[in-house]
Amino acid sequence: MSETLLEVEDLHTRFATREGTVHAVEGVSFSVDRGEIVGVVGESGSGKSVTARSLIRLEDPGYIERGSVRFDGIEMTDADDRTIRRVRGDGMAMVFQDPMETLNPVFSIGEQIVESIKVHESPEKQGLLDYLNVPLFSSRGKRSQMRQRAIDLMSEVGIPHPETRVSAYPHEFSGGMRQRAMLAIALAREPDLLVADEPTTALDVTIQAEILQRIRDLNEELDMAVLMITHDLGVVAELCDKVVVMYGGQVMEEGPVEDVLTNPKHPYTESLLGCMPQTCARGEPLNVIEGRVPSMVGEPTGCPFASRCWCSSESCTSGELPTEQVGDDHTSRCHHVEELSESMEAEQ
């Protein structure tokens, strides 16, 4: 049953900036099974968003230095444009963080969903004039059919009065409604995997809960796997089956949610948990692209968390990080796993 849908292995994504090369993602590996909800958690600048973008090859202006992203048997890192488009069109859909900016302001919501349906139906045949809705080049009958489908999708994601709102423009929607619309755009492609990059960060708490609920429902109804990128361990706890904790472009800890949250095997996870309910301020927008992650400029050495870690030792500042198996499907990348377990047990 637990068939692997997405397999990420030793992924390195970098950015060339004036200040130097930013190592945004540095050897990340994890996997997502069909129907599974996996959370990727970390602070702003931890490389989790870049990881998500790399999966569907939207890492530009960064570039994948090495590693592999295998989706449903397709190696994404060296796929041609056509293959990438096909995967985007019906395999892997993405929902971005800020719904205020991810919808094209000049096209109606309906149009943007319809486009998604079109791509899904025939990813190869994309005529520019058809997509521009130039009369002779796009069939009206087909369009109204797709429009109906768009309305269905809108109601599926919980947009009220979809018949009237289908021709509304993004600016006429509230943030929550926009994120639902984004969800509809993603669902239009009937994806096997939904990559959600902080989909609720920019929203009110109540709406956040609704959206998360909607994602969970979709996951159950459609058997759609979800990769949830978030900085909020609460979201992870509520939604995910598995969690990947990232810091400094590297995976710190990975394991079943319950395991990791109740029994963290990495100092960083632990400190994350420590600040969980209130201190984790919500979403300063992550901006790896402009190279504002100076800590990640240059070849990383040792553990990225070492400077902030309470138990760091000399061994932490250089060399490869070990990957320690700390439980069933639970790994931690820390030199001090042993001591950590001991001290934690002692605390308890």
Binding site: T102, L103, V119, L128
Partner: protein
């Protein structure tokens, strides 16, 4: 807008009073085919034209006439200024539209290519070409085009107004400078848009890059372009004066030059006023277009 128009009319009217010396004698001498007018004739002319009265009253008179659609009569052409202007508008309009078409035809693809290949050879090349375009005095370009395309290749007539063929060179001359400006604009606008999140959304749908660029990006990138292009209409009028002289097109620009040199003040005033009004109205129209292509701006909003 109304306030601006009032200001425009005042300024236009006052232009006449920049004239060094007494315009009456100059005008009369020309009306009389070069003969020196007698002092009585000058006085009489001042009387009949109301030049003796206080300037504010002259202005009110003039505006009253203008509001009734009466731009007065040319001193030398013995034709109402409005007729002169209306006769000349088609040639200029044709030129402006063709120039604009040339500019956009060159600028939009170039701007897009430049933006898509930012920092690479095509970008530098088109940026440089665009700058060369704005940096060339357009009358020089006009003559070069005449030499190459008319005299050497024999493709187009040297001058005049007629079919499409006589429009080609003037339109290119006029359009090139404008093209340069618009190219830069399209480029920067495109670059800005390509950085937007919704472009990633579009790509993430599995859309072809072509559709992403020409549908999602271009439509947004054109919003500021339309504004500026509209505001650049004045630039076209600026250029039209020179192009009309180079290619001997009897348009508003040529009329203005003749009128200025002949001190035909009613024509100068009428033209300046009409051009300014066209300009203001264009800006207003641009505003409306803007609302149309950018759904975020609602119709019926304030327009002050």
């Amino acid at each position: 807008m109304l306030l601006v128009l009032v200001g425009v009319s005042i300024l236009t009217f006052l232009l006449l009073f920049l004239t060094p010396g007494d315009p009456a004698e100059t005008i009369l001498r020309q009306q009389m085919g070069g003969r020196t007018p007698s002092l009585e004739a000058i006085e009489q002319f001042r009387q009949s034209e109301g030049l003796n009265r206080p300037i504010p009253i002259q202005y009110v008179d003039w505006v009253t006439d203008v509001l009734q659609g009466n731009l007065r009569e040319s001193y030398y052409q013995e034709t109402p200024v409005s007729t002169l202007i209306i006769n000349r508008i088609p040639a200029t309009l044709e030129l402006a539209v063709a120039g604009m078409a040339v500019a956009l035809t060159i600028a939009i693809p170039t701007g897009i290519i430049s933006a898509v290949h930012k920092g690479k050879a095509p970008d530098y090349l088109s940026q440089f070409a665009a700058l060369v375009g704005v940096s060339m005095p357009n009358f020089w370009l006009g003559y070069i085009l005449i030499i190459v395309f008319s005299l050497q290749l024999g493709l187009f007539p040297v001058a005049g107004v007629g079919g499409l063929e006589s429009l080609v060179l003037p339109a290119i001359t006029l359009g090139s400078g404008m093209a340069a400006i618009v190219t830069r604009l399209v480029r920067s606008s495109m670059l800005e848009v390509l950085d937007e999140e919704y472009i990633d959304t579009a790509r993430s749908k599995g859309l072809r890059e072509r559709i992403v660029i020409y549908k999602h990006a271009l439509r947004n990138a054109l919003i500021p372009v339309v504004t500026i292009v509209g505001l650049q209409f004045g630039y076209l009028l600026n250029g039209a004066v020179i192009v009309e002289i180079v290619f001997q097109r009897p348009g508003l620009g040529a009329l203005l030059i003749d009128a200025i040199f002949a001190r035909d003040y009613p024509v100068v005033q009428g033209l300046v006023l009409v051009i300014a009004v066209i300009f203001v109205l264009t800006n207003f129209a641009v505003d409306l277009t803007y609302r149309y292509i950018d759904p975020r701006i609602s119709f019926g909003g304030e327009s002050a």
